[in-house]
């Protein structure tokens, strides 16, 4: 175990996998000589050389497609988007090519690669650089969507994502890059598709991913002070979703709050709520509550930005509502 940051954990995962497998390479804007816009790829150019750590021009669609083709030809690309906001330029390659290639080629061509980078809200950068788009990706069969909430998960999940033979959209969080946590040294993999109970509790289930997991844990602490024992579940993989862990928790607590940074309409919370309704209806003592980002583009002003994002107070309030304690 070492105490390292979320960004160092990601770096460790990539370095270990590149040492393990020659067909893995990292490509993206500023990943090599600049050592990464967020320093996730710090030192990797020195370690692996310019053939395996490659700076690209600012051409998201082009290098995303390069990754798809290279993966079809048998390599295992890691394509970094400086942020997922810019991946919108590359959506044709992600949605129309990577996700569908296996199916539309009748199983002949898989696309084993990772698209990774920072997603979710940053701080004070306005609407085009602050948004959570994981529900877009999670809607598409053929893609896997992974979002770590702490340094250890970041390492273990990224290693699994790189080894996976499907296209994985690995969405990090810019605000979390500096978070420090205990991370196992060396080989440490977390299987994709497995949720993690971050805090055990009996009274209410809070499902939250990425940065919102931390918010949910803070809310759980407050709720504990009010006599409500919350269980916090981090799905970690958004698609495929580990519904069994969520349903088992709801069967125990009979109450559920789903938290996400993204917009409410067709969001991850909508999906999780629907699954609980479909498969755990009889376990519910109250309707599932959703705490989401507000249905507006992100503003720049500090107060408006704060209001747009879910807050610990809103999660506490939602947990009290579903517990008939509001």
């Amino acid at each position: 175990m070492s105490k390292i940051t979320y960004r160092e954990a990601l770096n460790q995962a990539m370095c270990e996998e590149m040492e393990r497998d020659d067909s893995v390479f990292l490509m993206g804007e500023e990943v090599a000589e600049y050592n990464g816009a967020y320093k996730v790829s710090q030192g990797m150019l020195d370690k692996f050389g310019p053939k395996r750590v490659i700076d690209t021009p600012i051409t998201e669609l082009g290098f995303a497609g390069l990754g798809v083709g290279a993966a079809m030809a048998g390599l295992k690309p890691i394509v970094e988007f400086m942020t997922w906001n810019f991946a919108i330029l590359a959506l044709d390659q992600i949605v129309n090519a990577a996700a569908k290639m296996k199916y539309m080629s009748g199983g002949q061509y898989g696309v084993p690669m990772v698209f990774r980078g920072a997603g979710g809200s940053a701080a004070r950068v306005g609407s085009q650089h602050s948004q959570a788009l994981e529900n877009w990706m999670a809607n598409v069969p053929g893609l896997k969507v992974v979002m770590p909430s702490n340094p250890a998960d970041a390492k273990g999940l990224l290693k699994s994502a790189i080894r996976d033979n499907d296209t994985v959209c690995f969405i990090e969080n810019e605000i979390n890059y500096g978070d420090v946590g205990e991370v196992p040294d060396g080989e440490y993999v977390i299987p994709l598709g497995k949720a993690d109970v971050k805090r055990a509790g009996n009274d209410v289930t809070i499902v939250a991913h990425s940065r919102m997991t931390g918010f949910a844990l803070a809310a759980a602490e407050e709720l504990a002070g009010q006599g409500i024992d919350a269980e916090v579940i981090d799905p970690r993989t958004i698609r495929p979703l580990d519904e069994a862990t969520i349903l088992a928790s709801v069967a125990k607590t009979n109450r559920c709050v789903v938290v996400e940074e993204g917009w409410r309409f067709s969001g991850i919370g909508a999906e999780i709520s629907a699954r609980i309704m479909e498969k755990g209806f009889d376990d519910l003592d109250a309707p599932v509550a959703r705490v989401t980002g507000k249905d507006v583009p992100m503003a720049y002003a500090a107060n408006l930005e704060r209001m747009t994002l879910p807050s610990v107070a809103e999660i506490v309030e939602a947990a009290r509502v579903v517990s008939n304690r509001a």
Partner: protein
């Protein structure tokens, strides 16, 4: 033997194009392949008319010299990618025509198991990577195939084919830039059939000399007569050698013409009958090669007539065999979505509730 006799005896063995010799076997192979594609496409058109083929179906009648010339110039290990007008290219590569026809008919033995249809033909054994349906999408993907050859230094070249419509997509220029920047072994082929669906080249392109489109990326380009299989073969050979030698990408514009509409639902009213006839009867690549071979004493008109009959029979048999196949098994609906289908990968297995 006099010089004249020598020339005559040399000519009798084959044809020459700009100093490159083609022996009689090669010429027959190229001819037969083009004719097979022509008859196959005609059959596909018929089957579409009978509503046995659904959806979009883009035929390549008229463009056969591009498909066949390129294939003959390349190695089997070279990669090839194209757009949705893909029947001719995959047939030229040597894929099983029954599997291609079965794909058009949505049958179990289709080359992609009935999951792709006309626009999405793939054959990994033949290094044929689609069959890509979004205009220009295959170009960044082709860049990746070229990158893989650079990364592994495997001596392969990627032939990345697009049309005069696709060449206007932004991703094409992103790809040109990176291919040139890293000297990737790629031949970008522009099949200029002069119409992007119903929009003629001069209505869509500020620079209509498409072989110049790589200039600002320092990618050399050449224009070839895409109605002459020997010209395509010769110049594609040069282009492939350029790319293979580590010189970086090169661009080949093959000027050609499609005899049919953009797709089966297009009556092609945007061009005149005279224009179509001029290309169809005046420049047809199959008639042209036949004429050259007859004049050189390499084959007779009789031979080509017999060959045509034989090919028509083959194509009929292919269509019959494909049609006899059942539709894909319903279980195929749920296969090939993931390579590593982990728990919960299929949360909605087609059931209500």
């Amino acid at each position: 033997m006099s010089a004249k006799q020598k020339q005559a005896s040399k000519a009798a063995k084959g044809l020459e194009f700009e100093g490159r010799s083609y022996d009689v076997e090669t010429l027959h192979a190229m001819h037969d392949s083009m004719l097979f594609i022509r008859r196959f496409e005609e059959k596909a058109g018929q089957m579409y008319g009978l509503k046995k083929i659904g959806g979009f179906c883009h035929l390549c009648n008229g463009q056969e010299a591009v498909c066949v010339g390129m294939e003959h110039a390349s190695q089997p290990t070279d990669y090839m990618l194209t757009s949705y007008r893909d029947h001719g290219h995959i047939l030229a590569r040597g894929s099983d025509p029954t599997a291609v026809m079965a794909e058009l008919l949505g049958r179990t033995g289709g080359i992609v198991k009935g999951k792709g249809g006309s626009m999405h033909m793939f054959d990994i054994e033949k290094n044929f990577a689609g069959g890509n349906g979004i205009v220009g999408e295959q170009v960044p993907i082709g860049l990746g195939f070229g990158f893989s050859s650079w990364y592994r230094d495997d001596g392969r070249v990627t032939m990345c084919i697009m049309g005069d419509g696709g060449v206007n997509q932004g991703g094409v220029y992103e790809s040109f830039n990176m291919a040139a920047l890293w000297k990737l072994p790629i031949v970008f082929v522009i099949e200029n059939n002069q119409y992007a669906m119903g929009t003629s080249l001069n209505r869509a392109s500020a620079e209509t000399h498409l072989f110049k489109r790589g200039i600002s990326f320092k990618i050399p380009g050449m224009q070839v007569d895409g109605m002459d299989v020997l010209a395509v073969e010769k110049h594609m050979g040069e282009a492939l050698e350029h790319a293979r030698s580590g010189e970086g990408p090169i661009l080949v514009e093959a000027v050609t013409y499609r005899y049919r509409g953009h797709s089966m639902s297009d009556p092609a009213t945007y061009r005149t009958r005279e224009e179509v006839d001029e290309w169809r009867t005046g420049r047809d690549p199959i008639a042209r090669l036949q004429q050259q071979m007859i004049e050189a004493g390499l084959a007779t008109e009789e031979h080509f007539k017999d060959k045509d009959k034989q090919i028509k029979k083959e194509v009929t048999a292919v269509a019959k065999a494909a049609e006899a196949q059942p539709e894909p098994d319903p279980s195929e609906l749920w296969t090939d979505v993931y390579s590593d289908p982990i728990d919960g990968a299929y949360p909605y297995p087609g059931k209500v509730g």
